[in-house]
Structures are given as C-alpha cells and as structure tokens.
Amino acid sequence: MKRLCVPFWEEVRRLLTESCERHEEVENFLRDVDDQISCKIGLSEVNEELRGHIEDKAELYMEYGLEEKEAYRRSIRDMGAADVVGLELNRQHRLRTATPLLVLVLALCVLGLAGEVLRNGLEFSLFGAIWAVRDYFYYVWGLLVLFLVTRFGYPILLKHTKAVCVTFLSVLLFLGILYFFQEMILDWAAGSDTTDISLAIYPEPEKLIWHLCGSGVYAAVLQLAVPVGAVILYRRRAHFVKALVFLFCYQAAGIVLAKGTFFGERTFLPLLILLFGCLGTVCYLLVKGWTNAPKIPGTAAALTGLFVLLLCWAVPQWGRVKENLQLFLYPETQASVTSAWDDSYNNVLIRELLGRIRPFGEIQLSEEELIRYGTSQWYYEDGEGNWGGTNSDEDEKDFEEYVEYRMQWLQNPELRQILPQYYMENYRISWWALRYGWVPALALTILILALPAAALWTAFRIRSRLGQLTAFSCSLVFCLQTVFYLTENLGFQFGDFVNLPFVSEGKISMTVSAVLAGLILSVYRYDVVLSEKTVISSDFGRSADRRKRIPV
C-alpha cells in the first residue's frame, strides 16, 4: 500500500509544482506589464483580459499535444515583450482631464469673484483682506468641493451606487418631513408655543432648521436630484416601465416638497429643471438604445409622464402659475405700482433699456432720463408728469412717496442707481450690455454658454454608459440653468431667479455647481481606467509596485 501511494503523491506534488510555476510565470508577465503602466487604478481588469488570452492560447497548445508548462511558456512568448505591451498600454490606460470644462469653471469663478469685488469694492488693508476672505470664502469652498468630487466622485458612485441613491432619497424624505412639520419642529425645538415662526428669533438649532427649509436648499436638492435620477434609471434600465414609474414618483416627490415650502414661485424653476432634466435623461437613454424599451413608445411614455406631472404641479396653484406666465410674456400687466423693485417692473425696464444699447460703451442717457428711470416716472407717468398708472388714488399716493424717497439717492444720477437691486447678480449680461455695450455682453454670453457646451462635449466623450448618462444629466442641469438665466436677462422671467453656475448667489449655488461639474470631471477622469464592473476596492489608489516579484 505504501509503495503504491508514494508515486501517486509524487505525481500530485509534481503537478502542483508545475501549476504554481505556470501561475507564477503568468503573474510575472502581468507584473512586468503593470510596471510600465503609470496609472495603477483599474489594472485588475487589464490583467484579467491578458490572463484570459494567455490561458486560451495555452489550452490551444495543449490541444496540439504540448505539456502544460511548455504550453504556457509559449503562450506568454506569443504575447510579446511584457515591457513593450506595458508601454503601449500605458498610452491608453491613464487618467484624463477635461481641460476645456475645467478652464471654463475656473474662468467663471474668476468672473463671479471679479463681479463681486467690483460691486462691493475692496479695501486695501489687513481688515479689508480679512473681510474679503470671509465674504468670498465660498469660492474657495466651491473649488475645494470641485476638487474632492473630481477626485473621489465617480469611484465612490461606482462602488457605492446603491448607498448614494438611498442616502439621497433619505435626504429627500428628511426634507419632506422637515418642510411639512417645520412649524411643529421649530416650536418643539424652541420649547415654546410660538406659531409665527417668521417673527421668532431662533437659537442655533432652529436657525439650521430654518436654513434647511430655505429655497436655496430646495433648489440645490432638486438640481442634484437629476443625476441621482439618472443613476437610478440606468440601474433599473432592464425594467424600463418600472424604472420610469419610479422616476415619475421621484419627480412627484419634488412637486410635493414644493408644496411644503414657503417659497411659492421660487420653487418653479428648480422644479422645471428637475422635470425637464429627467425627461432629457430618459430620452437620451432611449435614443442610445441602452434600455429594453422601444424608442418611440418609450419617449411617448416619458412625455405623457411629464405632461401629467406638469398638470399635478400647475393645477392646484393655477392662479400663481398664470400670474407668472403673464410676468414672463407681458410683465407690464403685472408691474407693481407700489414698488418699482419688483421683478415685473425689472423686466419692463430691461426690455426698455436693452432697446437703446450700443455696440461698445455705456448706454447714453441724459440726466433727466436717468432720474426718470431711477424713480420709475418714465413708466408710471406720462411726459407731462401726470399719473399714468391705474386710477387708484392710493397707488398714486404711494408712488409719489416712492419718487420722493428715490430722489434723495439721485442727486448725481448714475446708471448703477437706476437699475434693479440684483442687477450685478441676476442680470449680469444685461448689466454688461448697458454698461459696456452689446459686443462685450455678447462675449460674456458666449462664455456663459460655453459651460454647458463644454459639459456636454465632455459627456459625449465618455465611453462608460453609466458615466455618460450621469455626466449628460449634470450637463442638462447646466443647460437649463443657463437658458433660464439668459431669458431672464432679456426681460423674460418665469418664477424666481435661477442661479448662474459658478457666478451668482453664494455658497449653496456654488456647492451644487461644483458637485455637478466635479461629477462630470470625475467620470471623464476615471473613464478609461474604471469601468462599471471593475472591483475598485482591490486596487483603487494602491500601487501595484508594492507587490513583490515572484522568482520562477
């Protein structure tokens, strides 16, 4: 028995040794290839492909009668020199930078910062510098967010897709609870029976709740909802109908959230960005053929869904929606008599002044015209100084008081004094047209339009489907924001103002824009080296050089 066992175990040992050697030889080849590739992220997928090739070829040799060890040796030899293969792969396997998009983002940040500084002035002293850093810190914050999302965004999204989506949906749910029960929660947090929350002076936790219930957070969440919706849609694409129904429910949640806020028309544009952003994403998925649904019925279903959602949004508040449509088309019917600061009047004024701009230089207005524009008399009075508004005596009296109030600021009238309060932020293009001429304003418009164009260009160059759809949805948000912003600047405003990415309106806007742009940059950066199926945890950020070469 003992005699019989010895040759058997020796044979087993020989086979195991050979198997190990063969394995080591393949691994050494792959390691030599890896050594030539500078980007160590996602190398496992490259290795897997080369290993599969070597094994297939070795099997062929074995079919021809070669021994396993020799078959593998020849198979590796046929692959060519490992360092040559590695060097060639190194040209392809690399991180990329979407330079045009990155440059545009930085240029728009500089533009936004310069606009802020020009408007507020800059004090050249230590305290001035400290105040400037404090006031404009959100630009630094935005760039930090941009860097972090670019660096970690796509790998995290790939590795934790479900967790990211669930977290976002939880945030939506949390906000929903907060919106609908904010008064109750605030009372509870304040420990009082205060019901008039607008008059309360809140300590810190209450300030935070109040801040979370603000229109800025609402707009931010809805903008981020577009790429998250794209990810959910993509993950569920095999069951298109279910995915679409889920997406409609998801968008309906945005509509329900809007009901819970105080902000009325401030929710209009963020909501429209969500609805049209999701529609565009669904259509893109269908056009690309990345789902099992046929294109035309799928698009029809998406459009029907949008129509139903728009009805659900508009019908319960038809009065307000109609008022805003009038503001958009015929602002003169809505222009307030008692306050020339309102948006309707601003639209009327912009349309009036834009008709008089020059190619270069400031719009030409006499002192008398400046005063009439500055006091709104040009609009509410006829040329003889008679009241031209409604017949209400109360309105006329209010207006006279307003003119008197305004005149104290118009001793030496300037263009800046006659323009609406947010001119430098929300009407930056109009301001440039009036202040510097339509040619510089056109140049600015082109620069502003270049952001969504560069974002789309970057998205279309991404090969991964999930990455491309995510980047496309982010680009759509930029496109919609930019279109709404441009129409506002031509005196066509619907609802409240929309922020211009990286240029206007503070920390929340900057953070969201940085996340969206960062996601596009991140997907583009890792697109070549990370695919949807790559197991990131095994090699992300880890150098293959740390592994030791196995001697054969």
Binding site: L50, G52, H53, D78, M79, V84, L89, Q92, R463
Partner: protein
C-alpha cells in the same frame, strides 16, 4: 510581414472583424491568423493597446460574458462611430493600395 505595415493596418483589420460579430481578443487573433493564412501574425499582447485606443475613441464598446468554461471574457462590439471609422479607413486603404499597385505595375500615377 513587416511589423510597421502590420501595425498601420491593425485597427482596420480589428474593426473589420468586429463588423461581422462581437469578439474577444484571443478570438480576433485566431480569426486574423486563419483568414490571412498566418500572414498576419502579430505579437498578441500588442493588439490590446490598439483595442483599448479604439474603445477610448468610442469606435468599439466592451462588455463581459462568461464562456462555457466559466471564464469571463471581454467582448468588443463595433459602435456606429466605429462603423464610420471603418468606412473611412477602408477608403484610405483602397486609395493607398491603388497607388502602390499603380507604382509597382509601372502605370501612370493616379489622377486626383
């Protein structure tokens, strides 16, 4: 065959193979060898950088599929962009081939 000539036409050959069906790397090598009666024999590892470049360019897409043996293989699929690229490369190749033939045959140069 001269390596430089082979390298210049590798992407054309790979695109042409993928026009017919989706294939994985080793399968493409086998097909190339068989169809060319072993004239097109390349260092096999050098095909992957070409494939990856085509993928980055958007001419091909990849997906994974398990073989009968259980081995996961990376298949390549020709995209619409790839079909346009193939057409362009084919036209270029035909022009080149005509020109070479014209010169070797001693005929008049092609009129453009």
């Amino acid at each position: 065959m001269d390596k430089k000539m082979m390298a210049a036409s590798t992407s054309l050959l790979l695109l042409k193979l993928l026009e017919e069906e989706d294939m994985y790397g080793y399968q493409m090598i086998r097909e190339l060898e068989e169809r060319s009666e072993h004239v097109f024999s390349m260092k096999e590892g050098t095909m992957y950088p070409v494939l990856h470049a085509l993928e980055e360019e958007g001419a091909v897409e990849s997906y994974e599929k398990a073989a009968d043996t259980g081995r996961i293989r990376k298949y390549y699929h020709l995209t619409g962009k790839g079909q346009r690229l193939l057409k362009k490369k084919q036209d270029e190749w035909e022009t080149y081939e005509k020109a070479v033939r014209a010169v070797l045959g001693g005929g008049a140069a092609l009129a453009y």
